[in-house]
Amino acid sequence: MAMSERVPSPESRIGRRELLAGMGAITVSSACGPISPRRARASRAPLRRLAAAEGRGLEALGDVLLPGAAAAGLAHYVDDQLGRDDPLLILKYMDYTGPYLGFYREGLAALDRLSLARHSRPFEDIAPEQRAGLVGEISRQTPPGWSGPPAPLFYFVTRNDAIDVVYGTVEGFAALGVPYMPHILPPHPW
């Protein structure tokens, strides 16, 4: 007899529909002050570590990587984490030896330089298909003349930042139709 026949699954104790419905009642507070990154972004709250132009560039990149990341508060999430002693950014796993703020600043600046070289405009000002073309390029290799963190690493990290803010939350799980099933729900998403 298979073990699954002997041990009741969590779904048999509480239905998936109830799990998902229950999650809708959860109020999420913020890690970066009184409002969440999504609301901070919506209210145009100023960034504290990244310059405004860097924030716009990160949002433009984020929406190419995963549409909706900008509205989910990507720039405010990254900006808030950069101010912490022990940031929760996935960059932490990359054994990156340089300063975290420099990683984002230099990566965004390199992306803008690449965009200027190829399309004569900063990344946030070029057409969507041009943005996608550049992102595809940096996902595969470091383009000639790129100076900053290795381009594929910059792609990987910012892509994961975008995924974190869109799908790494209670709402993100619900959007995918999977139960969150927390032991302890975090006091705020990050």
Binding site: A2, M3, S4, R6, V7, S9, P10, E11, V64, L65, L66, P67, G68, D86, L88, L89, I90, K92, Y93, M94, D95, Y96, T97, A132, V135, G136, S139, R140, F156, R159, N160, I163, D164, Y167, G168, G172, F173, L176, G177, V178, P179, Y180, M181, P182, H183, I184, L185, P186, P187, P189, W190
Partner: protein, 522 residues
């Protein structure tokens, strides 16, 4: 700087090895102090979130990880009470006898200074104290040992689907042995299969240090001091006796902790770093390094996942991160395959959408709308299994002191690591087999991940002689009798099983040896 009251034993690190040593030595009547570099963690801190889970991974100064196949250091290390074992996946397997006799049996690599039969009683004792769930009969490859005290954990649809593929190819599978309760035991509840192991198990169904050994250590009188970063082992003028450790406290003040015995249990990168940074006039190459081998023979299991999309819903969100089933059909080493090395499959890992091992990173090249589309399909239909491959010992793979320095002016570690020909052939054979299994299982789309690594081993290897190793079989350094090293850094070979069970068994053996030989050691 101030010198604090002498203790019998100071242990650097509160993870798997440190917690077993502290518990056993304190219960044996010794005054034990643990110095933990990271912050205090309690079970209530272990939030169910892959983002918050990053808190319990290494938060100290970075390691410069280099080489053709750089080791993932920060992800493997822990930060705070419980060390790396606080976020380990509790896949507790025994090394096989041949793993400990690589040189003798195959003329390659190294031998351990002890045999499986020397280790077996400690595996059995730890297993009884911690409680393991598994099926010793179904696990036909299992070395001798007492049966598991608990039945295996549940298998869900993901496991059943993949097992179908193994069966079609004539390959056997068995329930994965886990240090996770399948039923209530010793005041700890059973697993609820929510897949948050990587974030730490706050209900303590998973046997992390907070669940078993640290509470016993504290109850026996051991104490722990957090945010205490040990920088050097201090020795007498002759350099043959440790007198304690230098560390920096939470306020950044330099302190000295005097102890009769010093045990480094700070994992495979920081242990050699501390020894190398403890160089003196007499030991210019680092402490306990007369062999020149401190830092050498670092290993990491080759790792990769095979992924597949199924028409059926896979329930990949149910279960535990380590997996549901095991296959060790390729574990027995057979040079006739064209390489020397063992491997195993950890089948049907529970998945989350985000994070390093999340669903989204199974297709790292996807971005934009295709990434959304993939996630919506994969969230309910993706299945995976993890390959663990042996890495043969190579002195060129090593921890050295780098050019960069930490806040206290001491060099940071640099790890240099590349896989050898055998390691790569072993991995390639695994990827080929894994994709065949998924196709046989009925997946309509199958792909492998890129090559990665897991588990950091070696760097302070044990051995029979002072010329060819850093410590003896108890982790006692050949050069400094009252200085011990513990943890996976002692492993002279890697095998292909997850190391935490062996770390526990070795640490228990060391603690017993210390208690029995206290007068001559301390």
């Amino acid at each position: 700087m101030s010198a604090l009251d002498e203790v019998d034993v100071v242990i650097v690190g509160s993870g798997a090895s440190g917690s077993v040593l502290a518990s056993t030595l304190a219960r044996g009547g010794k005054r034990v102090l643990i110095l933990e570099a990271g912050p205090e963690r309690t079970a209530g801190d272990l939030y169910s979130s892959q983002i918050w889970a990053r808190r319990i991974k290494w938060g100290g100064p970075p390691t410069d990880s280099t080489g053709t196949d750089p080791i993932s250091v920060a992800f493997n290390q822990g930060w705070g009470t419980g060390g790396a074992a606080l976020h380990h996946y509790a896949v507790w397997l025994r090394l096989h006898p041949e793993d400990l006799e690589l040189r003798t049996r195959f003329g390659r690599g190294l031998d351990w200074p002890l045999a499986y039969d020397d280790l077996r009683p400690y595996y059995d004792e730890v297993q009884a104290e911690v409680g393991l769930s598994g099926d010793a009969v179904a696990e036909v490859w299992r070395p001798p040992g007492t049966p598991y005290p608990m039945p295996p954990l549940a298998t869900f649809e993901q496991g059943r689907l993949i097992a179908r593929g193994f069966a079609k190819l004539g390959l056997r599978t068995a329930p994965l042995p886990l240090a996770i309760n399948s039923r209530a035991r010793d005041g700890r509840p059973p697993c609820i299969y929510d897949g948050w192991c990587d974030a730490g198990c706050p209900i303590l169904a998973l046997a992390n240090p907070l669940a078993v050994y640290l509470p016993k250590a504290m109850a026996a009188g051991a104490s722990i001091r957090h945010r205490s970063v040990v920088t050097r082992v201090l020795v007498n003028a002759r350099g043959d006796r440790a007198i304690g450790v230098e560390y920096y406290d939470a306020a950044g003040h330099r302190q000295v902790q005097v102890a009769r015995v010093v045990i480094l249990a700070a994992f495979a990168v920081q242990n050699p770093r501390i020894l190398l940074n403890s160089a003196t006039e007499r030991q210019r190459g680092g402490l306990a390094n007369s062999s020149g081998l401190v830092g050498k023979y670092v290993m990491a299991h080759s790792a990769a996942n095979v992924f597949g999309l199924f028409r059926e819903e896979t329930q990949n969100f149910l279960g535990v991160t380590g997996g549901q089933l095991l296959c060790q059909e390729r574990y027995a080493k057979d040079p006739g395959r064209g390489y020397l090395g063992s491997s195993q499959w950890l089948i049907a890992n529970a998945l989350k959408p985000n994070d390093l091992l999340g669903i989204a990173n199974s297709r790292p090249e996807l971005f934009g709308r295709p990434l959304h589309d993939f996630l919506r399909r994969a969230a309910l239909h993706l299945a995976t299994m993890t390959f663990v491959g042996e890495s043969l010992p190579d002195p060129g793979n090593r921890v050295v002191l780098g050019d960069r320095k930490d806040a206290y002016g001491l060099p940071l570690p640099r790890v240099i690591h590349s896989y050898g020909v055998d390691d790569l052939r072993c991995w390639e054979a695994g990827m080929s087999e894994g994709q065949a299994v998924f196709r046989a299982a009925g997946a309509y789309e199958v792909w492998p991940s890129g090559r990665a690594n897991q588990h950091i081993l070696g760097g302070t290897i044990m051995g029979r002689t002072a010329e060819a190793s850093v410590t003896n079989s108890y982790g006692q350094t050949h050069d400094v009798a009252n200085l011990f090293v513990a943890g996976p850094g002692l492993f002279p070979t890697a095998g292909a099983v997850n190391p935490t069970f062996t770390i526990h068994a070795l640490s228990l053996r060391t603690a017993r040896h210390l208690l029995q030989n206290w007068a001559s050691v301390a």
